[in-house]
């Protein structure tokens, strides 16, 4: 009997570095990702969010603990868990169309005509039909992200892993991509684990908001974001969204301040200070 959770992380730990200078990145991290929901992970910068994605994707192996997808342990990279990377990881030497069919063509699990048809449909869906034969560098940042989304979707992943996918876009394209992705998710409800460092982006998208601690990362808090769907960017101006934002920022502030007390790093103090000012302004 399948559980409600597609992905389960059990006591995940990982340290990097040579045996004589191990640095713990993730420590006893426990997390469940519900099916057909958007789980957003936020945390201080450099806390190990990308490493977490690498572990789930199977690019790295944990020192202890396990990653379970549908109850089965994850052993390595697979198209069940597609990653949308920071910035764009489209292959520059392939056209947009060739990038999209890369996976299915390689695995030969379907006839090429089917793959072609699905690729064209996806291109249509992400609004890039006219750009199929262009190379990635001929596309704008936002278009690259949409092409990358199509490249992931054609592999029919059970779980989408998004590693700060909209980072590096200008404010305008970022907002457009957020709306696009929000509408896309609300239509498909493809289970998604979305990592970001932007608290507003997190609240806009999340069903479940996971706040990580400082390094070594563990789950500091899980908030359930019960804002009505379908959502629009304007939802961030509602009092409920403000309340979630304040709650999340307070936890992050505490976390940064704790870390400053413990380690005395001025970066952490500055980060705590920024969170506090953000909380104050958003409370107004």
């Amino acid at each position: 009997m399948p559980s409600d959770h597609l992905l389960e992380l059990n006591n995940l730990s990982l340290a990097h570095g040579q045996p004589w200078a191990r640095e713990s990145i993730i420590h006893e991290l426990r997390l469940s990702v519900p099916r057909q929901q958007m789980t957003v992970v936020v945390g201080p910068s450099g806390c190990g969010k990308s490493t977490l994605i690498n572990l789930i994707a199977g690019f790295e192996k944990p020192d202890s603990g396990e990653v379970l997808l549908d109850g089965r342990p994850v052993k390595g990279p697979s198209h069940e868990r597609m990653v949308i990377f920071q910035e764009s990881a489209l292959m520059p030497w392939l056209s947009v169309y060739e990038n999209i069919i890369f996976g299915p063509k390689l695995r030969k699990e379907r006839p090429l005509a089917d793959i072609r048809q699905e690729a064209l449909a996806l291109l249509e869906q992400v609004g890039l039909s006219a750009f199929a034969q262009k190379y990635p560098r001929q596309l704008s940042g936002g278009m690259q992200r949409r092409a990358e989304l199509a490249r992931a979707l054609i592999n029919r992943p059970q779980l989408m892993l998004m590693d700060e996918p909209f980072r590096g876009l200008d404010a305008m394209s970022r907002e457009l991509m957020q709306s696009f992705f929000l509408a896309f998710f609300e239509e498909t409800h493809n289970t998604c684990l979305f990592v970001t460092s932007e608290i507003e982006e997190a609240i806009l998208l999340a069903d479940q908001l996971v706040i990580l601690s400082n390094r070594p990362a563990h789950v500091r808090a899980v908030l359930s974001v019960d804002l009505p769907r379908p959502r629009e960017i304007a939802i961030l101006d509602t009092p409920q969204a403000y309340a979630y934002k304040r709650q999340a920022l307070e936890i992050l502030y505490e976390e940064a301040l704790n870390n400053f007390r413990r380690e005395g790093r001025p970066d952490d103090f500055l980060e705590a200070y920024t969170y506090q000012t953000q909380t104050c302004t958003s409370a107004e």
């Binding site: 994707a57 199977g58 690019f59 390595g76 990279p77 697979s78 198209h79 868990r81 597609m82 990653v83 990377f85 990881a89 292959m91 520059p92 030497w93 392939l94 056209s95 890369f102 996976g103 390689l106 695995r107 262009k134 190379y135 560098r137 001929q138 592999n155």
Partner: protein, 269 residues
């Protein structure tokens, strides 16, 4: 946009031609300075004027031995260069993808690399049965190091996200190599080829000056320059020099053209 491009290109072409003509004019005046102004400029020695060089070139063009020199140098360069590509690309890729082989071969490679190709001339004359083979070998060495270093660097600096994305989509070792590592390294391969080709021309000329004595035909352009100098014709030596310049330019244009055709994504606007 196309029209703009054309004008821009023509403008660049026009400027290039103007610069060449201006340089020839200055040279012409300097060469005649003493004759025209009655005193010599300090630091300016004897030099044939370009008009005399061009005049002689017109005659040399009709001489078969001049073209044989072209043929001799070009065939040596292409042979050595192709061997360097054929061995250098797989060698560089091999060092990049396998750390055991890297640990094994890289130290030897790094010790041999600083030895200038020309320092190999005496040893290779003794080692190889024919003079021709030893010249090709020295040319090969010149290009080989440049190609290997560039291929190795290029293949090692591939963005790991491409490899990871391909792995997620189901690529095994074989597909990773052919579909990611190789195309991602292609720009570096062409950088290595362009640098290597430049070095082959430096090497061929010097090697011909050292090694090809007493053979007027098939001596190559390097021998042509040296032989003209020894024979007392500075004009002809200058013709040889300029011919080498043109030959090198043609060779690197060929590489640029092939690179342009093989990597459309690199230049697509």
């Amino acid at each position: 946009m196309n029209l703009n491009k054309l004008i821009l290109k023509n403008q660049a072409l026009r400027r290039g031609i103007i610069a060449i003509i201006a340089a020839l004019l200055v040279w012409e005046i300097l060469a005649h300075w003493r004759l025209w102004f009655g005193y010599s400029l300090p630091g300016i020695g004897l030099m044939p004027p370009p008009s005399a060089v061009l005049h002689l070139w017109g005659k040399v063009l009709l001489d078969g031995s001049y073209w044989l020199s072209w043929y001799a140098s070009y065939s040596r360069v292409l042979l050595g260069f192709c061997l360097a590509m054929l061995l250098g690309i797989p060698f560089g890729l091999m060092l990049a993808v396998n750390r055991h082989l890297h640990a094994l071969f890289f130290p030897i490679f790094e010790i041999l690399r600083p030895i200038p190709p020309l320092a190999w001339v005496p040893a290779s004359l003794i080692f190889w049965p024919t003079q021709e083979m030893s010249i090709v070998f020295v040319i090969f060495l010149g290009a080989f190091y440049a190609i290997v270093i560039n291929v190795l660097g290029g293949a090692r600096s591939i963005d790991i996200r491409y490899l990871r994305a391909a792995q997620s989509m189901g690529a095994g070792q074989w597909s990773l190599f052919w579909r990611v590592v190789l195309p991602a390294t292609l720009p570096s391969i062409f950088t290595g080829a362009a640098v290597g080709m430049g070095i082959t021309w430096e090497v061929v000329v010097a090697a011909e000056m050292i090694a090809v004595g007493g053979r007027v035909y098939g001596g190559g352009l390097g021998f042509f320059v040296w032989n003209s100098f020894v024979g007392g014709s500075t004009e002809q030596a200058i013709i040889g020099m300029l011919s080498i310049g043109i030959a090198g330019y043609l060779a690197s244009s060929l590489i640029r053209y092939i690179g342009y055709r093989l990597m459309p994504w690199h230049t697509a606007a």
